[in-house]
């Protein structure tokens, strides 16, 4: 028994020592709020930082609110996709200097109710007839409850709404009532991001109609041909009530105050970091099609778009990254 204990203690000691050795290198923690595009941007930024400065990187997962808190507390160093509209306290936090906003990652994203294109136009190749040829706007849905049937309630249609807890869920529910869709439709909460994308994937693969909330940039909208239903022109005062189309969200890059103190070179790089919704969707669709992981996709993306590296980095560093990609 004594021998066993001493062996145990010894192994614990060795493990702790080796652990200490490993932690002398700097490890940057990125926020992983749970969706694909943020992980992709983490991989792009992480790969560049690793190549230029030798820091390793890791991700800390949590919900939007949790990783935002983590950034403020300094447990997370860099947040590549702060969806500013989805965080109620964001403006306040920025005003009180609780975090650093470095720049805008992208602000050309769309979100709203999507239907597959074959629902409106049909798809001769797959032998699908257009089931709702006159569907253009959100309120047109009212004419087609039988096209989007709800499993639980006969005679009612189903609209897949926002993920419970996201700000958008509230707005979409308002939109649902504003357009009087409650007369012959059910507002269905999918429960989670994974469930929502599974529902859309499943319907699309089977060629069935579906009307669901989704947003860009995502692999899903990069891969599947979906149409965003039109709505009234955007009005900042009334969109919260669901009366108009949804605004593009400013998605920024954030850094914690602690980390910003002595990492000027990373601030310089990330302040210039800018992509677009279309670029991100492209990379995510590549990932989905080839089954590559985020780092592979990041490397593919940078070699496809070397012009971005020139925008983000100085000539010397950009060349260094390009050389490493060609290796």
């Amino acid at each position: 028994m004594k021998k066993f204990i001493s062996v145990l203690l010894l192994s614990v000691l060795i493990l702790t020592l080796t652990g200490c050795e490993a932690s002398t290198k700097k490890e940057i923690s990125f926020a992983d709020a749970g969706w694909d595009s943020i992980k992709f941007h983490n991989a792009v930024a992480g790969t560049i930082i690793n190549e230029l400065y030798g820091h390793t990187w890791t991700e800390i997962s949590g919900s939007t609110t949790v990783v935002h808190e983590g950034l403020i507390k300094g447990e997370i160093d860099i947040h590549m996709e702060v969806w500013t509209d989805n965080i109620a306290t964001y403006d306040d936090d920025l005003k009180n200097d609780r975090l650093k906003e470095l720049g805008v990652n992208f602000d050309d994203n769309y979100q709203g109710i999507y239907v597959p294109r074959y629902v409106i136009e049909g798809d001769a190749e797959r032998g699908i007839e257009a089931s709702a040829p006159d569907l253009k706007t959100v309120w047109d849905l009212k004419k087609y409850p039988e096209i989007f049937p709800d499993d639980d309630n006969k005679d009612m249609g189903r609209i897949y709404g926002g993920i419970p807890g996201w700000e958008i869920d509230r707005i979409l529910e308002n939109k649902f009532y504003f357009n009087n869709l409650d007369e012959n439709f059910i507002y269905f909460r999918p429960g989670s991001d994974a469930a929502l994308s599974a529902a859309i994937t499943s319907a699309y693969e089977k060629g069935q109609p579906i009307a669901a909330y989704y947003w860009e940039p995502t692999w899903l909208l990069g891969k599947y041909d979906m149409v965003l239903l039109e709505d009234n022109p955007f009005n900042p005062d009334t969109y919260q009530n669901g009366e108009t189309e949804l605004p593009a969200v400013r998605v920024t890059v954030g850094m914690s105050n602690d980390f910003a103190k002595d990492n000027q070179e990373l601030i310089d790089f990330l302040s210039k970091y800018r992509t677009s919704s279309a670029l991100t969707s492209e990379a995510l669709a590549y990932m989905q099609d080839t089954g590559s992981d985020y780092v592979e996709a990041a490397k593919w993306f940078m070699s496809e778009h070397p012009e971005l590296l020139d925008q983000w980095l100085n000539t010397k560093d950009a060349k260094k990254i390009k050389d490493s990609l060609n290796k």
């Binding site: 419970p164 429960g191 089954g291």
Partner: protein, 291 residues
């Protein structure tokens, strides 16, 4: 770096994950009609249970809980406490949501018992079968729920039908295990005696072994019910409405009050169902001891 193989696995096989994805998707498309039938019938089952529950006047249900708890615990005070807790759920405006959740639970538990009880008896008769089934049961209980929940969505869509399936997969295990265990732990002499007196194997099973094992089996029923309750919030992540969805919304929006109130309602439901079925366990114990 030369000793890298000590810390890093020397070789890795690239599993073709994409092929698995494609196979599952193709399967879901090919057998769509079949899955549709299952989905429809599960949805129908849950909806009809919900319909019946909604037709029961609230005071009747509260009275029923009072009587059941009183009879099973032999204490009037307990009956009053639990029925007033149920009253609180109604006061909090969660009555219909509770019925919705309850209908998913009842459907899953009924299906679990329907399949689990015979399977439990079957594996109690054969050591080989028991050994073969055990790892499957372990997998069902430990496989992270979302791993099979998302494929289930491809087959069964979102909402209550996949919720019932996921709950059943998780909750069927205790009834199988405890039925098996209950029958196995009976004294061999008792079974032998029954056979010696000329009963057939089936008679021995129905008239001697199952009654003897009843307390353990009832514990299994109780555990199955509790497992089903544990899935309430998880299944709301695939769109099952009811109390679980309230909890999910409350938690995701950090509306602590909303989460706490609906979470408490789940607890009250669980406690009442637990006490009522535990009462059954105790009564079945008294019976077998008395005989």
């Amino acid at each position: 770096m030369s000793a890298g193989w000590i810390y890093n696995f020397p070789f890795e096989i690239n599993i073709n994950l994409k092929a698995i994805d494609d196979a599952v998707r193709a399967f879901s498309v090919k057998y769509e009609a079949f899955f549709k039938v299952i989905t429809k019938s599960l949805g129908g089952l849950v909806n009809s249970i919900n319909f019946v529950l909604n037709k029961i006047p609230w005071f009747v249900l509260i009275l029923l809980v009072f009587i059941v708890i009183w009879r099973t615990s032999n204490k009037i005070s307990k009956g009053i406490i639990f029925s007033s807790l149920l009253f609180l759920v109604g006061v909090a405006g969660l009555w219909n949501l509770m019925n919705e959740t309850l209908s998913i639970i009842i459907a899953s538990v009924v299906i679990s018992l329907l399949f689990g009880f015979p399977i439990g008896i079957l594996i109690s008769t054969s050591n080989r079968l028991n050994k073969a089934v055990r790892p499957i049961l372990d997998t069902m209980q430990t496989m992270p729920v979302f791993v099979y929940l998302i494929p289930a969505l491809l087959f069964f869509g979102l909402g209550k039908p996949p919720a019932v399936i996921a709950t059943t997969i998780y909750a069927i295990v205790p009834i199988i295990r405890l039925t098996n265990h209950g029958i196995r732990q009976i004294n061999a002499e008792v079974v032998e005696a029954s056979l010696a007196f000329g009963s057939t194997k089936l008679q021995s099973l129905i008239k001697v072994q199952i009654p003897q094992a009843l307390p353990t089996i009832m514990t299994g029923v109780n555990q199955t019910l509790m497992m089903a309750m544990a899935m309430v919030v998880t299944t709301s992540m695939i769109g099952a409405t009811g109390l679980g969805m309230e909890v999910l919304i409350g938690v995701n929006r950090i509306e602590i009050g909303r989460g706490l109130v609906s979470g408490s309602a789940v607890v009250i439901m669980a406690v009442i169902l637990d006490r009522a079925t535990q009462g059954l366990v105790q009564r079945s114990e008294v019976k077998t001891d008395g005989q």
